[in-house]
């Protein structure tokens, strides 16, 4: 594991590596969250805590309920039962936009760049407390012009960091898939979140961009933000996460440092099946 200079990451050494383990300073706590679709239980999480200031990966095979769990936490879907809180504030029944305002901002698995808005417009949209977004004030440009200029300055500095500055006047639809992922993440930062929830930030991103995305995510931790991300790319999980949570069939089956989780027998079984190391042909031949 690489060296870090913030306090958030050191928790990994002292936290027990078992599902639902308590963290020293949790920013997000979830209890007894279940979500059923008809007869299928998509999510059934007993207890989960996310350490403040850490990068936590949420992994699991396809259909494990990771994205559904994300949707529940961010208010895009309502659970059948359970409670969860962010910074001590209960989030039950809180609509998505209010969750975002509280400081928990998400991105989407299928990138939601706003295609017929330019890149800079996408960015500016994310800024909080815009006077010009009030319907009455919108017709008096002098009320919001100064604030808009500040927003643009902030947006350009983030875009520059994400190497999208030269694209700022292009429609978002003109960006490549990887650039859209970058834009979505950059846009989320405009909201000044405390916690960033990234749903498969690496899907469809080419290796060169991947490296810069990784750097951006690490930078978020340096700034003291908490990151929770869903990912299939194990290299990435290994490289940047302080803590890994493994879901399978809606439940959390393991937690721990990346190294410990990848050696966990249950995790290997969840991904590859219980009898993955048996030679099938041998069996058939017998």
């Amino acid at each position: 594991m690489q060296k870090r200079n913030d306090g958030g990451a050191s928790f990994a050494a002292t936290t027990p590596m078992q599902p639902g383990s308590a963290k020293p300073d949790p920013i997000l706590i979830a209890d007894q969250i279940t979500r059923q679709f008809g007869g299928l239980t998509a999510v059934n999480v007993d207890h989960l805590e996310i350490q403040r200031g850490s990068i936590t990966a949420l992994i699991g095979p396809n259909g494990a309920g990771k994205t559904t769990f994300f949707n529940l936490l961010t208010g895009y879907d309502a659970p059948n039962s359970g409670t969860w809180s962010f910074n001590g504030l209960p989030l039950n029944g809180i609509p998505p936009h209010k969750v975002a305002r509280l400081g928990m901002v998400r991105t989407f698995q299928l990138t939601k760049a706003l295609y017929r808005l330019t890149v800079i417009e996408n960015m500016a949209l994310g800024a909080r407390g815009q006077k010009g977004e009030s319907v009455l004030k919108s017709v008096f440009p002098w009320i919001w012009r100064a604030q808009e200029a500040e927003i643009r300055i902030k947006a350009t500095s983030i875009l520059k960091n994400f190497k999208l500055l030269e694209k700022q006047d292009d429609f978002a639809a003109a960006l490549s898939g990887g650039q859209r992922k970058l834009l979505e993440m950059a846009r989320a930062l405009m909201v000044e979140p405390e916690m960033v929830m990234l749903d498969e930030p690496m899907a469809g991103v080419n290796p060169a961009l991947k490296q810069s995305l990784l750097e951006h995510i690490k930078e978020l931790r340096t700034e003291g933000k908490t990151v929770l991300f869903v990912e299939h790319d194990m290299d990435m999980v290994h490289e940047i996460s302080d803590w890994v949570i493994v879901m399978a069939q809606g439940e959390i089956i393991a937690e721990g440092t990346p190294a410990s989780v990848m050696g966990n027998q249950q995790v290997i079984e969840a991904y590859l099946g219980a009898h993955h190391d048996l030679d099938l042909s041998e069996k058939e031949g017998a």
């Binding site: 961010t74 895009y76 609509p95 998505p96 936009h97 209010k98 975002a100 305002r101 901002v105 998400r106 991105t107 989407f108 939601k112 760049a113 706003l114 295609y115 017929r116 808005l117 417009e121 996408n122 500016a124 949209l125 994310g126 909080r128 815009q130 006077k131 010009g132 977004e133 009030s134 319907v135 004030k137 919108s138 017709v139 008096f140 440009p141 919001w144 808009e148 429609f171 639809a173 003109a174 979505e184 846009r187 989320a188 405009m190 909201v191």
Partner: protein
Amino acid sequence: MDFLFIIQQTLGATIGVNTIIFALAAIGLNMHFGYTGLLNFGQAGFLAIGAYSVAVPVISFGVPLWVAFIIGIGNSILFALLLGVPTLRLRADYLAIVTIAAAEIVRQIARSATFNEWLGGSDGITGKFGKDFFDLNPFKEGLETPILRFNANDLWVVITGWILVAIIIFVMWLMVNSPWGRLMRAIREDEDAVRSLGKNVYLYKMQSLIIGGVIGSIGGFVYALSRQSVQPDNYGTALTFFAYTVLILGGAARVFSPIVGAMIFWFLIVFIEQVLREAVTNNVIPDWLIGVNQVGQIRFMLMGIGLMCLMIFRPQGIFGDKKELALDAKA
């Protein structure tokens, strides 16, 4: 053939009352559909509410006209809330279904025998409810030039109507070029993304529905006043779809497109009709091919062909940006 008459009729229609009415209806739709992505198929309902709100209070309850205008705006806000509260939290399709039904409900209520006493049933309301407005008319005589003619009342309606359109367009231009307008376009692209940035999408969609609806109902004011009568069947679904035609002709999500769209729409309808009529009556087109009574239908056929050509060769409308249209919103 009397070419001067054709020009006079066509020019009169191009900048006339109907153009103003359709432009206002389409400006409202532009707010809904062009900028916010709301599929409102019930714009005719907003016009009907505007029209009846002007006529009924004045005729049946003796309210002054300016109070009737305020009632009309209030009613259209109520109608927008009624449509929006249950549907704007749902997917876009639900709004489309509910609005098309609601506009028909408005029309059917207006023409029902039950409310005959106040709303005039299927005959509608005819009377001098616009007296307060026409009393202000400074023109004692109409406009009489070889190529353009309006009688005194029409001239007054046309001039005030265009001033009204100009004011509305200007305010709308300010709005759509503000952060508020950006937010609206963002909602059109992807609501969930906008929610994830901490914006109350529901509230903004409601604002759009109300603003577009009020503009539509102002179109209804003009419709009622210009004719001094309100006929329920003028506010059928055809009106909504003509308004969409106007909007798409001009190009959605462009501030000026409803005006240009409405002008082209009425220019074509009247021009085609007048040319055909003149040609048929002067036997330029033989009787066995097109009779005088068929002109009315044929102009719509030709209009339809024209629109098809537009969609094929210029799908983005007059003002639209083809590059922008080519970007698949769901790519």
